[in-house]
Structure formats: structure tokens, C-alpha cells
Amino acid sequence: MASLKDRARTAGSSLYDWVELRLGLLKPLTETATHPTPENSASWLYVFGSAASVLLVLQIVTGILLALAYSPSANEAWNSLAQLNHVIPLGWYLRALHGWGSDFMIAIVLLHMVQVFLFGSYKFPREMTWIVGVGLLLLTLGMAFTGQVMRFDQDAYWGLGIGASISSHVPIVGPYLVHMLLGGPIIGGATLARFFTLHVFVIPGILLGGVGLHVWMVLRHGVSDWPMPGRIVSRSTYQKQYHELTASTGIPFVPDAAWKDGVFAAALLLAVMACAFFFGPFGPGGAPDPTIIQTAPKPDFAFLWIYALLAFLPPSIETPVLLVAPVIGIAGLLVLPLFAGEGERHWSRRPIAVLLVSVIAVTLGIFTHLGTYTPWSPVMSAWTSAPIPAKLLANRTPLQRQGALVLQDKQCRNCHAIAGSGGQRGPALDMIASRMTEDQIIRQVLQGGGNMPAYGNALSPSETKALMQFLMTLRSNDLPPAIDSSTKLTHPGESQTTQPTPAQKNP
């Protein structure tokens, strides 16, 4: 008499046979999961691709759950987010998971790309895997941008305005593009509806199809082997060598290699959950009311570097750079495996690749960092909120103090810092009298120039006089006042035409 265990095993096996006879998928899937992969590809650096898919699943699940409460209408979107944050139980957590998941996903997709690039894994026969991957990166960024619009707040509203403004610069079709982007003449219900359609139907659909293709090609060509210096990829020999390597050192992907993917995915999900729990959801910021102008719109983290770049491009080259550079960049990524499909894979033999990654990473890092504190933006409230330190006013003449008032009242502080507070658009004024003579400052203030507007029409002669009196006191005691060195040559008989008032001793 068969034991209970044997009976259960027989029953399980016959159920498997019943299903498999009809479905025909269980055996091939098992074979796929356990296919042999080179032992050296079972690495902690090979986990980013699977991690990105895990995050994609998280985004889909949380996205569907958010759609239960979100209202994609310009009337209601912002309120429905507030309701998710404050009324619906755990709504805040779902929003936080989705928001943090998005940031993590971009980071992981970029890491995956850098790893594949530095390891030369995009070379033959995996060129198309890379090309589809570039598409997946762009779709991921598309999800991030459209997702930022879903959070229908001030940043989303003005971010759409920035998108429309950039589109409007496209030659010939500019105005039509703006209308296509906005779904009408203004940012409104139609705009949110089409970004919702993109975010929820169009891009995820293409993204899932692309991931399917990407994974299919990974399975077809196998996980790339660990690169070795001097092991050259050649179209004529690579596949034979790869198969020999797999035959001699192959280990089943599941479980021998996949456990690292599993551990990393779990750690990553835990990290997303921790960020979501401790830092909470992103926004929404102020209501998307364009008549509320007390706002300093800013894009989400992934696009801060573009925001920063837009502050530094000179007007004359801004349009060409904005319209041409992305095309060149994306085209370069797409054709990379076509002209570098063979040769060395190891990073130690590919200095240009390493240099490229370093330069791009540092550049993106710097621009993103600048984007976090926007030194180019005037600090709109500095003229009323950042007083002049008392020590700069001590022992000053009434006219000098009047000048300090003029400095505050004319909003100079919005762009010029004193004692570390105020805008950073222009130079800090703490030591201005040691760098510029009175004549030079007067010319600069009244006529403007460089990045400064002309104040000739906003300052009366008496205000200018007072302002100069104060500005000329701004140098520390151990620095001499600036002198115009050309004066000696042009007026040999005279001394400095305008002697700066000596800075008085600080108390």
C-alpha cells in the first residue's frame, strides 16, 4: 500500500501531465530557466537587468492601484492626489512607492546601461539587444516625464509650459507640435488626458513589448560572458567560443546564477519600501493654478540636469543645441554597436569608453547638483528677507546707510549675496570695493552688461549716489580699495579720480 506521500506525488505528477499536455509551456519554461550559462556571468554586476524588470512590475502593480483613486481630469487630479495622501488609507504609501520606484528604476536602468557598455556586452551578437535597450531607456524616461505630469501640481503645469516652449522652437512645425503636445491651445484638461493616455496605455504597452523582445534576445544569445583583456570578439568565432565556454563551465541559470538576482531584487524592493515609508510621497505641490505666480517650478530629479543646462546655454545657440543634441545623442547610442560590434570587450583595453562614461557621469552629476540649488535664479524674496548684517552698517555715515536701504529696496539682493545670503546670479558684493572702482561700479549699475540689467531708469541720481557711498565701504579692512591702473597712464598728473572712502574700522 502506497504511502500518503507517494500518493500525493503521483497525484501532483498526473496534474502536471494533464496541464502540460494542454498548455505545453511548463516544460519549455523550466528548460529556459535552467539553461546553462557561463559560470563567470553569475556575478553581482549582472543583476541590474533583472532588477529593472522587478521594478517595472512594482510600477505596474502600484500604478494600477493608484488608478483606482486617481482622476485624470484637470478639475480633479490635484484633489484626488490630496485625497490619496490624506484620506484614503495607505494612499500616501502607494504614491510614495510609485514615486520612489520611478526614481530607483531610472537609476537601475542607467546602471544596467553603464555596466553593459563598460563590459562591451553590446558587441556581436547582442547589437539588437542594446538597440532595443536604448529604446527601453527612452521609454523609461518618457514614463518619468509623463508621470511628473500626472502629479498635476504647479511643477507639472509649468513643466508642461517648458515642454511646449521647447517644442515651439522646432522649425516650421513648431506651433503644430505645441498643439499636439497640449491637445489644444492651452495647458488644460486635454493636456492631462493625453499625458494620462501616454503614461497608462501607450508607453507601458510599448515598454512591455520592448522588455519582451529584450529578454527574448538575452535568452537567444545567452548572458554575455565576463570580459577578459585580449579575448577579442569576432563575428566569425564568437558564437563558437561562447558555446564551448558554456559547455565547459556552464551552470544552470536557475538556481546557480539567479540567486544573486533574487537577493538583489529583494534588497532593492526593501530600499524602495524604506524610502517610501520614511520619506513619503512626492508632492503634490501647489495647485496647478497659473494665476499663482509665487512659484519656482522645478522638474523631477531625473530632468534637473536639463533644467540646469537650459540656464547656461547662450540664447544664440540654445535652439540648435536643444533640437540637435538629443538627436545626435540618441543616434550615437543606437549606432554604437553597429560600428563597434567587434573587438576588445574589457574596460582596461577601452580607454575611450571609460573616459566617455566618466565625463558623462561627472557632467550629469554637476548639472544635477546645480539644478538642486539653481544658483542662476534670482531669490525673489531676498530683498525683504535677507537684511544687511549690522556690522556692515556700524559707524557708517547717514548717506552710506541710505545707500544700504537703496540696495535692499531696488532688489539688488535678489541676485547679489551679502554675507552669504541673497541670490547667486550676480557676484557677491561683500568685497566689491576691492575689485571695482566707483566709476566701474556706476557704469555697471546704470548701463548693465554681462548678465546684469541696466538700472539707469530705476535709480535716481541721489539714489545712485547713496548706493555708491555704501558699496564703496564693502571691502574687508585688510584689502586695499580697487584702483584703475590706467588712470596713471591717461592722467599722469592726477591721482585716482575718485578716491574710495576708506572702510571704517569695524567695532
Binding site: A74, W78, G161, S165, G174, G189, L310, N451, M452
Partner: protein, 231 residues
């Protein structure tokens, strides 16, 4: 011999039966292949017929010319805007839809130069559309995004913008200040602010048209104003 050249014998009577069947199959195959190609062609035609209206629907928003949208709307009483001051005015966009919520609102800066001279600036920075703020003391508009600055007459003062602030067409009807608003002003959709007849309904006669045109051009044009501030 010559008959064979002009009239080649078909796979006929004296061929073995298997060959006849194969030939018949081949004949039938070419017929089916042709029919399949025909079905493809039919689907291509029907598909195109189906696609044209779908694409038309999709491209709908892009089909309207910016200059065709918009309408004249009142901003308020002229007395609300003191001479010599620049004030924020709010209005509801005349092209807004029922589901636009708060985004149907719009704001603009009204600068009253003299009794009958006005400038109305779009709030959108000419660089990338962020809302500019007016600072009366320094007589500057400043943009919070990338630091674009404009003088009180809308000219570019500094920063990344490559032009001055966008201006709305204005009109005075009695004591009421009207502007013409349509597209959100951007670098190229700004065309909506170009001269247009004040009357929206097509004029019945050419005399009406001339009257409408004169009404809209009574107000100082931006070109006329640009001289007023010495560069």
C-alpha cells in the same frame, strides 16, 4: 519542331498521374497565392480607409492655426489700473474647456503708461514659459526658472530669453480694457497676439470690416511702442 517552339506542350495526357495532381495543385496554389495577395491588397485599402479618420482625429489639435484661436475678453475697468503702475490681472482663458479646472485661469501684467496707452504682457517668460514676477522698485520682470529679466516695457534685459515678453493685443471699449487671448504664448504660437479684427463674427460688409479693423488698430501697436524706450 517549329510547332513545339511556338506552342510548347503543356504537362498533358502522357504524363504520370502524380505529376498531373502536382500540376493541378500548383495551378490551384498560384490561384490561392493570388487570392491571398488580393486579400492583402484589400486589407491595405480598407486599412488606409480606416486609418485616415483615426489619424485625422489624433492630429485634430494640430490642425488649427494658432492665429485662428482666441477671442477678445475684458480684463476689467480701466480705472483698476492706475497710470504709471504695472498690475497683475486675472482672466479666464476664452479657449478653455469645461474640464480645465484651475488651468483655465490665466494671468497677465497690465502696464498703464498714460491715460490711453497700455501694454499687457503675458505672464509667460519668453524663454521657457515660467511665470515672471514684476518688481516695481527696480522696474524689472524677473523669471524664477532661469533668471530671465525684462524691463518695464517688456524688452529683454538679461538672461537666457532671446526676445522680450509676449504682448497681448489690447483694446479700450468705453471704460473697459480688453485683450485678445488664445494660445498659451510660446515662441511660435505667439502669432495669436498679432493684429486681428476686434469683432469675432465675420463682418457682413466691407464697410463693417474696415470699421472692425480700425477699432483694433486704434490701440497702439507693439511696434509703435518699441521706440518709446531708448535702447
Amino acid at each position: 519542331m517549329s510547332e513545339d517552339q511556338t506552342n510548347p506542350t503543356p504537362p498533358s495526357h502522357n504524363a504520370p498521374p502524380g505529376e498531373i495532381a502536382a500540376a493541378a495543385k500548383a495551378a490551384a496554389h498560384t490561384r490561392r497565392a493570388f487570392l491571398f495577395k488580393l486579400s492583402l491588397a484589400m486589407n491595405a485599402a480598407v486599412g488606409a480607409f480606416l486609418a485616415v479618420p483615426l489619424i485625422g482625429y489624433l492630429l485634430g489639435p494640430a490642425m488649427k492655426k494658432p492665429s485662428e484661436t482666441g477671442a477678445w475678453i475684458p480684463l476689467g475697468k480701466l480705472s483698476d489700473f492706475p497710470v504709471g503702475e504695472t498690475r497683475l490681472a486675472e482672466f479666464r482663458s476664452p479657449v478653455a474647456s469645461f474640464n480645465d479646472g484651475d488651468t483655465a485661469k490665466a494671468a497677465c501684467w497690465v502696464r498703464r503708461i498714460s491715460e490711453d496707452k497700455l501694454q499687457v504682457f503675458a505672464i509667460n517668460c519668453a524663454h521657457l514659459g515660467c511665470p515672471v514676477r514684476w518688481f516695481a522698485q527696480s522696474k524689472l520682470f524677473l523669471c524664477p526658472c532661469h533668471g530671465g529679466a525684462y524691463y518695464e516695457d517688456g524688452r529683454r534685459a538679461s538672461g537666457p530669453p532671446e526676445r522680450g515678453l509676449f504682448e497681448y493685443r489690447t483694446a479700450l471699449v468705453g471704460d473697459s480694457l480688453l485683450i485678445h487671448s488664445g494660445d498659451m504664448p510660446t515662441f511660435t504660437t505667439e502669432a495669436v497676439n498679432k493684429p486681428k479684427p476686434l469683432i469675432q463674427i465675420a463682418p457682413a460688409s466691407s464697410a463693417d470690416e474696415a470699421k472692425a479693423a480700425s477699432l483694433s488698430t486704434n490701440v497702439a501697436t507693439p511696434a509703435a511702442r518699441s521706440n518709446e524706450w531708448p535702447a
